[in-house]
Symmetry: C2
Subunit: 194 residues, 2 copies
């Protein structure tokens, strides 16, 4: 997605060989027009899949997810992150490990909002080691719903998240795939294949 790549080049901050900060348009400040374009791009890639629900994770997944759901004409649900979970009644949940923060969080969604007859599209802002995506996938599996695929705004192609997800025969669509952050420079792969 060309305007996303341009935005990453113009505004992304390369903090190390593995950390790309995009706080000016996605993770802290949000560019709503870019989110609208991102929503259109995801909706277009999954338009044949009869999606009934878009699932994401708070907080940075919410903006792209709402725009995708708007374009697909379906609701979106955001999973909540909590340090630990005492009340797990009526919840699907999964533990995800954050390499950046070096901590495990429990993420959860209410059973009220993903049902076994749903066709779910997972949307997230970043794909790196695939921990968050795997957690969301596990909750979809718990619900018995079908999973149409995973839509990622920015994929770190040099980490193993995509490989891990595709090994389960799950489709991954990323709007920008960063192949390297070496020497403070963002290099992109081509768009993920259709």
């Amino acid at each position: 997605m060309e305007q996303l790549k341009q935005k990453i080049i113009n505004e992304g901050q390369v903090l190390s060989d593995s950390v790309l900060k995009v706080d000016s348009f996605l993770n802290h400040q949000i560019d709503p027009e870019l989110m609208q374009d991102i929503g259109e791009a995801f909706a277009s890639r999954f338009k044949e899949d009869r999606i009934t629900k878009v699932l994401t994770l708070e907080s940075s997944g919410i903006a792209p997810s709402v725009m995708t759901a708007l374009r697909l004409g379906v609701p979106t649900v955001f999973a909540r992150k909590r340090k630990s979970l005492t009340l797990i009644d009526n919840l699907y949940s999964a533990d995800i490990y954050s390499y950046t923060k070096q901590e495990t969080n429990t993420i959860s969604i209410s059973k009220d909002y993903i049902k076994s007859d749903d066709i779910v599209l997972i949307i997230d802002d970043f794909l790196a080691n695939g921990q968050a995506a795997q957690g969301l996938i596990q909750m979809v599996e718990q619900s018995g719903a079908s999973l149409a695929g995973v839509g990622i705004v920015i994929e770190k192609g040099f980490q193993h998240g995509r490989k891990m997800i595709e090994e389960s025969d799950i489709r991954v669509e990323s709007l920008a795939i960063v192949s390297s952050l070496e020497n403070g420079k963002v290099t992109f792969k081509e768009d993920s294949p259709r």
Copy 2:
């Protein structure tokens, strides 16, 4: 805002005389078309105010805020919640007490995204005791930016949040004002005056 009130009546769960749960369209699952209408409603109420930035609080404020910002043609920024804050360099921050969770959180935004020449519109999902709104207002004050007002999706009119904010001569616009939740029934006040 009529369709919002209908949605609250049809889907809101009155858990007590003070707790209204709207997880089916705002706080967990999100109705993107309703969010679009909410964004239009806020943008219309503040269209003369030359807003340059919409400020909200993760996570439930993000969807209405992105839609408002899209309609106004400006970026939105979401404040982050953290249990405590060690690194406060380059951050505006405020402590807010949650009566529901009985805990204090530090909320913060980067100084990069609210500047002294900004005209800020604060958007939040709920207004009850005004703790979250006051925290957001404090950060706008720290930045030296102008504050155009506070836009609230659902106000609990029987709590004192509005009074507290209006005492500082800050404009509050709520799209639905609940005057009572007694006997398990949602009663609305008229729309907030223009």
